[in-house]
């Protein structure tokens, strides 16, 4: 059996409106925090994987960060794949440590999108649309995701209430996290009364825009014995890709998450039912329900009812997005997905306080980029 990689350190910064923050300050705080959490020195890090930044669009972001903090990695790369990137950094880091190329790989994300960009961020996000075949039609990112939501309502009976229940549950979870961006409790009525953005998605069905950063360190399996904290093993990783633009998606109800989840669970030798807590990319409430069913955690048309009946609560049958997710904890570009990975690790280390899922042994983290375009699933286990 090959030596499985571990996550040796994690850190996330404060999230929300951080007017003093910059792309580099968030990277530095998250990166050095994760290094400290792993009990390592900066010079121990021999691999650096970063994402991308909207506020500070660098051609070589990783190199800029390494220079800034005085890190001289042996391997360095920056990956730009939208919201799926956080998972991909971890996936690539696993390959680097399992091949012996690196011993400690820092996977680093962060952006000050809220105070650094303000209103401009929606236009920048809409740039993901095809310049000839989508942008001339005023396609917003919510409108693109809404195509799948509308189809799902039509085909499998997803309702506004199902989506609202997701948002309400995650706000309740965020209230239990000291760092969450939005903690004020919301009700089903609040979601239903929030402004329509792109039908069927209302404002409270949409993720936040936050400043923030997050990092994890992926280390060789045998480093576990030297760690100050409980190591978490990476049991399986999978990716899946079907299209880039939503009009090219072969399906509006099944996406690359189907393959990525199957691959990750297969590599781990585990079944859906073995997962104790899930941390699934939730750019929109509908996206989460659709992915859960496409991945096989729920049968078609059943995830919404599960949300309504409280199954996703921290003490429910399927604890989901215990930090509040992108909807309520925070969403800072590629860091949005990394917050999910960090929370999964904290659950397995049993560090979550009143958010703790009892006896969590196996966690599932999932990131998504584009318009359901790219997916990465990661299965983590307590050693």
């Amino acid at each position: 059996m090959k030596s499985k990689a571990i996550i040796s350190g994690v850190h996330d910064t404060k999230v929300g409106a951080l007017p003093q923050s910059t792309c580099m300050s968030l990277h530095t705080e998250a990166g050095l925090g994760a290094i400290e959490d792993a009990g390592l020195k900066v010079s121990d890090v021999d691999g650096l994987l970063t994402a991308y930044s909207f506020t500070s669009p660098q051609l070589m972001l990783g190199s800029v960060f390494a220079e800034y903090v005085g890190l001289k990695p042996r391997v360095s790369a920056s990956i730009s794949m939208g919201g799926v990137t956080a998972g991909l950094l971890v996936a690539q880091a696993v390959a680097l440590v399992e091949s012996g190329k690196c011993r400690h790989v820092l996977c680093l994300t962060g952006d000050n999108r809220l105070t650094g960009l303000g209103e401009k961020v929606q236009a920048m996000l809409a740039d993901v649309g095809h310049p000839q075949y989508e942008q001339p039609y005023g396609m917003s990112v919510p409108a693109a995701f809404a195509q799948a939501a509308q189809a799902y309502m039509h085909e499998f009976g997803m309702t506004h209430e199902h989506m609202a229940a997701v948002a309400v549950n995650q706000r309740a979870n965020a209230a239990k996290h000291p760092n969450a961006h939005m903690k004020k409790p919301i009700t089903m009525e609040d979601v239903g009364n929030s402004k329509m953005v792109a039908s069927p998605l209302r404002m409270l069905d949409c993720c936040l825009v936050s400043d923030g950063g997050a990092a994890v360190i992926v280390s060789a399996g045998d480093a576990a014995r030297d760690l100050p904290k409980t190591a978490v093993r990476i049991l399986g990783v999978g990716e899946g890709y079907t299209h880039e633009h939503i009009f090219m998606s072969p399906s509006l109800v099944d996406f690359g998450c189907k393959d990525s989840a199957a691959t990750a669970l297969g590599e781990a030798g585990l079944k859906h039912a073995d997962v104790d807590c899930a941390h699934v990319y939730d750019c929109f409430s509908s996206t989460l329900l659709i992915c859960l069913e496409s991945m096989g955690f729920y049968q078609r048309g059943e995830a919404g009812g599960a949300a309504l009946s409280g199954e996703f609560a921290i003490d429910g049958r399927f604890p989901l997005n215990t930090n509040g997710g992108l909807l309520s904890y925070g969403s800072s570009g590629a860091a949005g997905g990394m917050f999910h990975v960090v929370e999964a690790v904290r659950q397995l280390r049993r560090e979550c306080g009143e958010r703790q899922v009892k006896d969590a042994e196996v966690a599932f983290a999932h990131t998504l980029g584009g318009i359901f375009s790219g997916h990465c699933s990661i299965v983590l286990g307590r050693i």
């Binding site: 929606q122 236009a123 996000l125 809409a126 095809h130 310049p131 000839q132 075949y133 989508e134 942008q135 001339p136 039609y137 005023g138 396609m139 917003s140 990112v141 919510p142 409108a143 693109a144 809404a146 195509q147 799948a148 939501a149 509308q150 189809a151 039509h154 402004k195 329509m196 953005v197 792109a198 039908s199 069927p200 998605l201 633009h245 939503i246 009009f247 090219m248 509006l252």
Partner: protein, 139 residues
């Protein structure tokens, strides 16, 4: 960006792959490609068939009929140029020839659009641009 630029909707810039499509639109034709090797239709036009990577593609004019595969009524425009249009419909259209494209459903009550509705292609003229834009209307 100047104020008048900010109010201008994005205009497609035809390239070697798409010139026939956009020139067709200016002449009131919805052009698409069909592969000589596998026989499948593709949208958008490319230098090869995305189903089989075949290089021989023929250009055909679509009949201009299709159905709404999905849609969303946009209430918050992504850029200022579309702000005056809200609420407007962004839809995915399944054309009878076997391909899907995105457009707006125009000249209708936005709230009336449903999945499965039959539509027909029309070509929209936009102020300040000589490029006509393929759109659909409800039948």
């Amino acid at each position: 960006m100047s104020d008048s630029d900010a109010l201008k909707k994005p205009v497609p810039l035809p390239d070697a792959d798409s010139r026939v499509y956009w020139e067709g639109a200016n002449q009131g034709k919805f052009m698409f490609q069909r592969c000589n090797s596998c026989g499948k239709a593709q949208f958008y036009s490319r230098s090869l068939c995305s189903h089989c990577q075949g290089k021989e593609l023929q250009w055909l004019a679509a009949r201009g009929r299709g159905k709404v595969a999905s849609f969303s009524v946009v209430h918050r425009a992504p850029i200022r140029a579309f702000a005056a249009d809200v609420p407007y419909v962004v839809a995915l259209i399944d054309m009878d020839e076997g391909f899907r494209f995105m457009c707006n459903v125009i000249h209708c009550d936005a709230q009336a659009v449903r999945i499965g509705m039959p539509v027909k292609v029309v070509f929209e003229e936009r102020p300040g641009s000589s490029q006509k834009i393929p759109q659909v209307e409800l039948m």
